[in-house]
């Protein structure tokens, strides 16, 4: 299964990027977007971080095993879709 790395931009600038070194296995590239959206929804619902007063300002930058950026997902998109 392909592995993707979900880096989280939680503040502006290079210091605000939490780099994912471990990655998630996703069944197929087609399933990636759903996986990332679900992860964002779970975080917004269940994770309370002092550094992140508002998850809607966060963005996932997703890279593949070659380090290529394959998806950018602003949390606001997922949050708005729920309304």
């Amino acid at each position: 299964m392909p592995r993707y790395f979900l880096h989280l931009q939680y503040r502006e600038g290079p210091d605000g990027l939490a780099v994912d070194e471990e990655g998630d296995e996703v069944t197929s590239p087609d399933a990636l977007r759903e996986h990332v959206e679900q992860t964002a929804r779970d975080l917004m619902r269940g994770a309370r971080l002092g550094a992140i007063p508002d998850w809607r300002t966060c963005t996932f930058e997703v890279t593949d095993e070659a380090g290529k950026l394959v998806l950018t997902l602003p949390f606001a998109e997922v949050a708005d879709a729920r309304l």
Binding site: L8, D20, L49, G50
Partner: protein
Amino acid sequence: MDLTLKQVLIEPNQPIEHVTFMEAGYTSIAAVDGRSAIELGIIGREGMVGVPVVLYARTSPFNFFVQHDGRGLRMAASRLEVIIDERPSIHRVLLRYAQALSVQTSGTAFVNAEHTVETRLARWLLMCHDRLDGDDIEITHEFMSMMLGVRRSGVTTATHVLEGNGLIQAKRGVITILDRERLEEMADNAYGLPEAEYARLMAQGQ
């Protein structure tokens, strides 16, 4: 006996055959549901795995598995049952440990309800650090994610925050404690009460 990562010492709802007095490393008490697990408590060289036996319960609904390699001394549960009946002074000490562990798991419930992921991570790292020699804690974010019950990105971000503040250094698979004092400040009231209660209870002697 040697204890290795992920080794199960007590399975949920199965008869407890042995208790283990931990000498090195630590064991997690975890609520397990299918593939996911959430940590309720940690047992290291300060304690024993098998408190239900001390309370005359031969099973536990929870999973006790080794979270960090180490060593322990094993005793048959039936033997311990005889000892606690015959030696009330030993039983008293073990009962006080049971109380200390209960305070610790209550502390986990408190922080899960009350505190941010950063604070909970700080508490958890301090508890691991207490039970190890040296400052390196071998752990993946995947595992921390399970233990803290937060998606891995949440743990990675909390780790990033603690690292940015100079409290820890995170490399793949290893977290190094750089500034324990400030980590305790960060953990605030999430850390320290169960540890103090353990010290108080154990100081009472037999």
